[in-house]
Subunit: 453 residues, 2 copies
């Protein structure tokens, strides 16, 4: 018997994981490479950022998920590039994985519209680390406002700007407003969290521009009812850590969250194929890379037009369908058949605005309010990987709904605690000395001779 | 009516939180200062480190816990020192809080026996951040071992050394062994996690030296049954990130966890009082600081002898009792009565070794095995703050027991993701440039001209 063909799948998101799983009964050896050890259910990431869920509720160890799939090997590693001629995936640590068939599902990252310097002031929301950082900033802002003596500083600390009126931005803005109005309402002595300003900024004329117009209007009304100031047709021209500038209007705001532009993973460039303005790869209708029928691209990294000229959207169902299709294509190739064109089945769009409110478009059906919200809950629970996660999320939602509380109001600052030690490991010796100070203690509080060295 | 007296409580651990809560009906104004926004249930921290529990399961927002206590104000801040003459607590950010009565419950940190340089190689376990770092190191070691080509390197990656044979060390070693033998057993293709070595190192002749001898022997037997190599009477002489040296024996080990020496918070020194070798304050029997009847010290920071000459142990029940006593003493002082001496009521000691195994000494009663384990489960659930946490922990334990799984196997590396941005905020401009690179992407994978700046 001949050696089985080798398939490498890059990325364990919705598309890559689905593809790898669907290859279980195909006679190939599969290597699934991801730089995280977990599959992340990104649609609920904003709830981690807003302290409603634990990271582990929406992240599942990839290894555990596929433990019974004997033809699959999981590799935790960072893909640095490709040797397209030699058909090898190159890892940052120097390792190389040869392939006969390659599926690239590396996903998307944020785009700051040519202003990468904004990132530090306005974290995006793509990873668990991003979500914990956003959570830290939101919760710390209220704490610092409570301590602030200067009214202007207090105002800036109690002003939250969410940039981007897509589903992520709408969900974030709604959740921050709920934290201020309900969760924290009675917990401070010197500030009234209910008076916090939450702004949602969108460059286009309406929020949720991918939705039908009536649903955009409904979502905007729901946001306003929650106390969110919705600024449509407004462009961010500057962000500096103290303020956000919209056109000529400078708004003092210490906390800015980024839910705007999406850019394909920089790995797209490494494939040497034609990219669109967002860095996505213009793939053939059968998902293959131009000139490379052995390479398929799925998920947010692929730019694919539908029959009606619109693009396949960058949403989880599309990535899952493409991943499934890529696996089928590999089976076809093994049988000597050509790869087939992908057809997207549009299941509709759902976006939640806050407690009891959502909007959804499912074919000709437009849903708003409680019904849409229940549909949203159901769909998200259904798609959560792993029974345990589903149960954990469900129980926390019940608890939060009943109490207005948020179960994960934890400020975790791994960065502050361990950055010195880690930088030291990597040889940044100028940061070496602080590694010796005792855990969690600020240098200011310590005499210089603290350690008996 | 006169202005109410001001009480400042430093630290929202077991002692400080209990004291602040008990002052609810005393006519004082209380300020509770902590540098974290959460009260941490430290006895279960090792379960966060070993991926069994979520951080938020054992941490509860202080503000939320005391929201209904009208005479209490919570301050998130870092205490830098004290103005004992002016009766003010000084914060690192320059703020000062005046007091009439002060309770210092700043707790303990790790001690590295005069080797602070070991910390980066052997994280301790006092904060959520520590636990997440330990978890990251444990899980990453298996991943790297799976990738390692060199057998010696693989062996070092699969060798885990826990330093310190007290309850934390015993619990950690048992849990790491269970991860290797059960949770990860079938999840790797190139390594067999069951062959991982787990060593527990203790300088004294037996583990759990605070327990009766028969229980130490029982715990050691249970550890060996789990596959842990117990090295008693062994002293660590070097740790360098590649190995641990015990006396003259060098053991190649990449993952070292520190459960040994405890040192009182460096704040003890700021009180200008006589300290013992561990940095604890030698307080009067009524918990007051020598020379300062208006200052009480409770919890791990206080060194207090019992009538029989033994010390009050550094455990949660002792801290809680002292916190309660300090609140009563303040009420006495308001009535013009002198402060009373503290009497410790010993409820016994419990330590768990692993799934279904624990040891406990309650008065003359010595428990081992399943019975001790059930007692341990019951006591820890009972003392967990907040009903929601209790339920969440209980459900996860049931799930873990039934499946041998661990629900929180998440490698979260906030440090890597955000250290650059944070360092930049603080003005370390030499770290400024990397902040501009896109999220989560390794520099190696990027062309230098990546951003259209």
């Amino acid at each position: 018997m001949a050696e089985p063909k080798r398939v490498v799948v890059v990325g364990a998101g919705f598309g890559g994981l689905r593809c790898a799983r669907d290859l279980a009964r195909v006679p190939v050896r599969v290597t699934l490479v991801d730089r995280q050890n977990h599959h992340l259910f990104q649609p609920l990431l904003y709830q981690v950022a807003t302290a409603g869920l634990n990271p582990a509720d929406i992240a599942f160890p990839v290894r555990s998920f596929v433990r019974r799939q004997k033809n699959l090997d999981v590799v935790l590693g960072e893909v640095a590039g490709f040797d397209l001629g030699g058909r090898r995936v190159l890892l940052a640590d120097g390792a190389a994985f040869p392939y006969d068939e390659l599926v690239v599902a590396a996903g998307a990252t944020h785009a700051y519209f040519g202003h990468p310097e904004w990132e530090r002031f306005a974290p995006g929301l793509k990873t668990i680390e991003d979500a914990l950082e956003a959570r830290r900033r939101i919760l710390i802002a209220f704490e610092e406002a409570d301590r602030a003596e200067d009214p202007a500083r207090r105002l800036a600390l109690l002003t939250f700007v969410v940039v981007g009126g897509g589903p992520t931005g709408v969900e974030l803005a709604g959740a921050v407003a709920e934290i201020a109005r309900h969760t924290l309402a009675s917990e401070f002595r010197r500030i009234d969290p209910r008076r916090a300003r939450v702004l949602l900024v969108e460059g286009l004329p309406r929020v949720l521009p991918a939705m039908p117009e009536d649903l955009s209007r409904a979502a905007e009304a729901q946001l306003r009812a929650l106390g969110v100031e919705v600024r449509t047709g407004a462009r961010v021209t500057a962000i500096d850590g103290e303020s956000v500038t919209l056109g000529d209007e400078r708004i003092a705001a210490r906390t800015v969250l980024w839910g705007a532009g999406v850019a394909a993973s920089p790995l797209a460039r490494a494939l040497g194929a034609p990219l669109d303005a967002s860095g996505r790869i213009r793939v053939h209708p059968d998902l293959t890379l131009p000139g490379h029928p052995e390479i398929q691209v799925v998920g947010d990294l692929a730019r694919l037009a539908r029959a009606d000229g619109t693009l396949v959207p960058g949403v989880a169902p599309a990535a899952i369908q493409e991943g499934r299709h890529a696996a089928r294509n590999i089976a076809r190739a093994l049988r000597g058949e050509p790869k087939a064109a992908f057809a997207y089945f549009d299941k509709g769009l759902l976006a939640t605005v806050g407690r009891g409110h959502a909007v959804g478009a499912v074919g000709p059906l437009h849903l708003t309010g409680t019904l849409a919200w229940l549909a949203w809950l159901f769909v998200h629970l259904l798609f959560l990987v792993g029974f345990r996660n589903r149960l954990a999320v469900f129980l926390q939602w019940v608890w939060s709904y009943a109490t207005f509380g948020r179960g994960a109001r934890l400020i975790v600052d791994t960065a502050r605690r361990w950055q010195y030690a880690r930088a030291g490991e990597r040889g940044l010796e100028e940061l070496d000395r602080p590694a010796a100070r005792p855990p969690g203690e600020a240098p200011a509080a310590l005499p210089a001779d603290h350690h008996p060295e």
